[in-house]
């Protein structure tokens, strides 16, 4: 793994490299060198299996981190190629010509993060979210709770119970009634004041 990282450092502008364990390392590259590096890793170093393309939203730094995880079937080791792209203008070079499966990942990233991959086949087609008109949902500024409250609502005629109170009324009906009466009296007393 170490020799591989040294070879990559000679060839590319590796800004950061972490060795997570014996068979897994991560390197960070400028976004312009990723396709070159992926081609090099696939054809020269034997990393023939594209495991996944993933994106992480670092909203506080204004970037998306893209991670390409590649696997070498001969040495049974993985390398994660990370790159950072601007969050306001998320465009990345496509690698669909290297792996046929890459276009599916790119289509998903386009939909879920809004990262564009010009030239990737069918990248603008909706994949999972047909008819979605909000910001891409996997971005950190998409508020799932707010969206759920605005979009979904309880059916009419449904009653919700506070579980603690409902159990009290079921198991201790007398005490619950007395408690209710006392609370009512207290409320009335307050109003008179």
């Amino acid at each position: 793994m170490k020799e591989l990282l040294e070879r990559l450092e000679d060839r590319f502008t590796v800004t950061e490299s972490d060795v997570e364990r014996d068979n897994l390392a991560f390197i960070t590259l400028p976004s312009k060198e990723v396709v070159q590096a992926a081609t090099h890793l696939r054809d020269i170093e034997g990393f023939g299996h594209l495991v996944m393309i993933s994106a992480v939203d670092y909203i506080e730094r204004g970037i998306f981190q893209l991670t390409y995880i590649l696997h070498n079937y001969d040495k049974h080791s993985d390398i994660g190629v990370r790159t950072e792209i601007d969050r306001r203008n998320p465009v990345m070079d496509s690698i669909h010509h290297l792996w046929a499966a890459a276009r599916v990942y790119q289509q998903e990233l386009r939909e879920m993060f809004g990262i564009d991959f010009p030239g990737s086949p069918r990248v603008d087609e909706p994949m999972i979210l047909e008819g979605w008109d909000n910001i891409p949902p996997m971005r950190k500024d998409f508020d799932t709770k707010k969206y759920a409250e605005e979009t979904y609502f309880p059916r009419e005629g449904r009653v919700t119970y506070d579980p603690a109170r409902a159990m009290e009324e079921k198991n201790y009906p007398l005490e619950a009634r007395v408690k209710k009466r006392i609370q009512k009296l207290l409320r009335e007393g307050k109003d008179e004041d």
Binding site: D18, E20, R21, N23, L24, F26, G48, H49, L50, V51, M52, S54, A55, V56, D57, T67, I69, Y73, H76, D78, G80, H96, H97, W99, A100, A101, R103, V104, P121, R122, P126, M127, I128, L129, E130, P137, M138, K140, F142, T144, K145
Partner: protein
Amino acid sequence: MKERRISETNPWEPTWCDVPKLDLKSERYVKIWQGPQHPGVTGNMALELTLEGDVVVDCRTHVGYLHRGFEKLMERRRYIQCFPIVCRICVPEPDYNEYLFAAAAEELAGIEIPERGAWIRALVLELTRTAFLTMWLGGQAAAFGLGTIGQWSVAHRDFILDLFEELTGHRIYHMYIIPGGVRHELPEGFAGRVEAVLERIEKIISDIEKVMFHNAVFKARAKGLGYIPPSWVEPYGITGSTARGAGVAIDVRKDNPYLVYDKLDFEKIVGGESDVYERAVLRKEEILMSIRLIRQILKRMPGGPVRAKLPNVFHWRIPAGETYVRAESGRGEMGYYMVSDGTEYPRRVNVRGASYTHAMALLERLALGVSNADIAGLMTSIQTCPPEIER
């Protein structure tokens, strides 16, 4: 050399990106939808098929009927609260998700699990594989009209679910593998009951072999169907028994041993014919191998604690870092990419479903030139699992 229905073309031919130029107004083609509710598709997934006569000339997969946004939900939850979510990512094989999520969190947090915990985890994973593949055999047979096998195999999967109910309290989603090990010790006399179930499954597999693999109709329809050239394995990201059926010997359990697989005695099961029939035979062999593995595990399992001590899980901060862990599920390589930023919540969890590329990229390519009646069998054969495609 027998006839192949799909010629072994160069995988780098841009067939997957070219939209076939079909004149849909020429009244030559019929467009039909198979799914999202259809007995011939696995789960809720739709195939938009363009037919010329009976032959598929264009196939588009449509997913999105099961999207529940699990990866996004996990970003709002503490690590321990993610466990009821992750197991729902794949319905027939939930334990791989639990194991991988736990393994990723343990690796980032630097937690060692006790040895017995690892052995019990391996036992649970192999039981799940047996249950899934047994049910899968029934699904594959039913796709070619042998409905009885489906009834046998689902009934026998239920015996394994009974074991899970005894072990974990749940039948489908177990939430048994948690960070630090497993939730609790095996019940008393569990090994004996596992052995009884394994014997029943072995018996039904030998019955299934007689009526399925020696059946002339099944052979006629499945042999030569869905041929995957070995050169497609890397470009399409094919893993698991689908790749092994094509003669590519990859198995995560052997190549990157996790848990206790380096101590177990087993072999990769590799084929070469790479058609639907071959893949079904391989998976039947894999059930038998899983059964042998379960027996080995039960025999050699050491004593000791099953769970390491964890910090308070409701305030559990995992140090910043990122990792990728993988396991061999019944459908292929399953992996979790986890990024932690040092807070109590995961920054990002990305699931590599084993059938993600199978169902999306590969199926669209494989379906070309196949008869409409064989699409169901083909789809089952590459083990599509919609819940893990959309997550």
